[in-house]
């Protein structure tokens, strides 16, 4: 299969890569750019563990061809902490014990980050709606919702969400 040029900005860094057009965004992030924080779980578009932020929107990186992200900006979980300083949401996830095995966490963080930028003062119901696609097989949902709500309520100061 003939490789094609992909121009993509990931976590504020511009890349030019030659890839097979059948590569999914999650494959390019993990295999080409070695950003393995993004997890590939169900591969059927059902679990949202692979969520990243594409041009400001949460999307499933297993359900987007990498070539469709040409000239786009992608943020992965690696973009959140700066100089070792966690974002308020990451701190809240730790404090509230918002994960067990951790496999869904990067997807949860990216979905919640995109959501809080869109809806800075959400209700608990809005948080549940926004994250309903992100499955957690350890069923840690309540602690996740509580962590997002605590950040939305301004209980965590710091850099941007």
């Amino acid at each position: 299969m003939e490789k094609q040029l992909l121009r993509i900005t990931v976590n504020h860094q511009y890349h030019e890569l030659y890839i097979e057009p059948k590569r999914l965004l999650v494959e390019v992030l993990r295999n080409e750019l070695e950003l393995t924080g993004t997890k590939r779980a169900c591969s059927t578009g059902a679990c949202c563990a692979c969520s990243v932020i594409l041009n400001g929107m949460a999307v499933k990186s297993c359900s987007v061809l990498a070539m469709q992200a040409d000239e786009c900006e992608v943020l992965t979980v690696e973009s959140l902490a700066e100089n070792g300083e966690l974002t308020p949401l990451q701190k809240a996830f730790l404090d509230f014990g918002a994960f067990q095995c951790g496999f869904c966490t990067s997807g949860m963080l990216m979905s919640a980050t995109a959501f809080l930028r869109e809806t800075p003062k959400p209700t608990v119901d809005q948080i549940r709606e926004a994250l309903h696609g992100n499955l957690c097989r350890c069923t840690g949902y309540n602690s996740i919702i509580r962590a997002v709500k605590a950040v939305a309520d301004g209980k965590y100061k710091g850099s941007s969400q």
């Binding site: 059948k22 578009g45 929107m57 949460a58 499933k60 309903h132």
Partner: protein, 294 residues
């Protein structure tokens, strides 16, 4: 594993139509790809050529006019429809339908045209748009044509699109006065696809006394979204009573043509068709009655 294909990115409708014409024999169009990529990954669809229209921005728009109604470009995302103030004001049922289609992630990237062209009989927009009497605008390299959406769906995952044709636009007329539309799907997981769904539009007579016009459309109850005209006829000119609801529901159940699969048996789907028809006729009717009091 996705099989190899040749990838083309179109920038305009004209470019797209040229590509479709050139590769007529074996292509698939991808826009959001939220349904297509699943099928490609499973090897169920393996096109030689993949034509990407995600960047054809001229197909992404929402326009409204009090005379001609609503026009939605085929590449408009679910999320853009759900957040549109115009749609919220004039077609609130579409906001409700969109919010319950899938996850935010899918709605952010997936498009309305892609959903319709996928031709899944359990899809949400089909029944609701048909209840709203929607038209679709289709083009190939040589000409454009309009088609009622109810004639667009042909069979399981099959539409009336011919080789070389592209869905351009969905058109929804102005909703008549004293008309309300209701939609509900029955599913196990929230925002999952419905096992059976029903979309119903009810128009009342001026005095609000009886039903002037009705449209009843089922999803997941046949090989395509199914309009139940005989159930609509039962309602015409009648007053809302429990026995009328029962008759319409039973007719919908009788004329549904569902299959048994892993999600539900045929019998259960018929039962759902009856219950949802009754509920949605009642809901739309009572909603339309509130428009009288304004």
């Amino acid at each position: 594993m996705i099989r190899d294909f040749v990838y083309f990115k179109a920038g305009t409708v004209k470019e797209t139509l040229d590509l479709l014409d050139k590769y007529k024999d074996d292509y698939k169009i991808i826009c959001g790809g939220q349904s297509l990529l699943i099928l490609m990954r499973q090897g169920l669809v393996a096109p030689a050529n993949l034509i990407d229209i995600k960047k054809v921005t001229e197909l992404s728009y929402i326009e409204f006019d009090l005379k001609t109604g609503l026009k939605i470009g085929a590449a408009t995302t679910h999320r853009d429809i759900e957040k549109s103030e115009i749609i919220k004001k004039h077609y609130p049922i579409l906001v409700y339908m969109e919010e319950n289609i899938a996850s935010n992630q899918t709605r952010n990237w997936g498009t309305i045209g892609g959903n319709l062209c996928h031709g899944d009989p359990t899809g949400d927009p089909g029944p609701v748009f048909i209840a709203l009497n929607a038209l679709v605008k289709i083009a190939d390299k040589k000409k454009e044509r309009n088609l009622l959406l109810e004639d667009f769906f042909v069979d399981y995952f099959e539409t009336a699109l011919q080789d070389g044709e592209l869905l351009l636009e969905i058109q929804i007329p102005i909703i008549a006065p004293l008309t309300a539309v209701a939609y509900e799907k029955f599913n196990i997981i929230q925002n999952d696809q419905g096992i059976v769904s029903a979309a119903v539009s009810i128009t009342l007579t001026k005095d609000g006394d009886s039903c002037k016009d009705a449209r009843i459309v089922l999803g997941g109850a046949a090989s395509k979204p199914l309009r139940i005209k005989e159930a609509e006829q039962i309602l015409m000119g009648k007053k809302l009573t429990d026995s009328l609801l029962k008759k319409a529901g039973e007719k919908a159940s009788e004329l549904a043509d569902p299959v048994s699969d892993i999600h539900a048996s045929e019998t259960y789907r018929r039962y759902l068709a009856e219950v949802l028809t009754k509920r949605m006729v009642k809901k739309a009717w009572e909603q339309a009655l509130t428009y009288m009091k304004r």
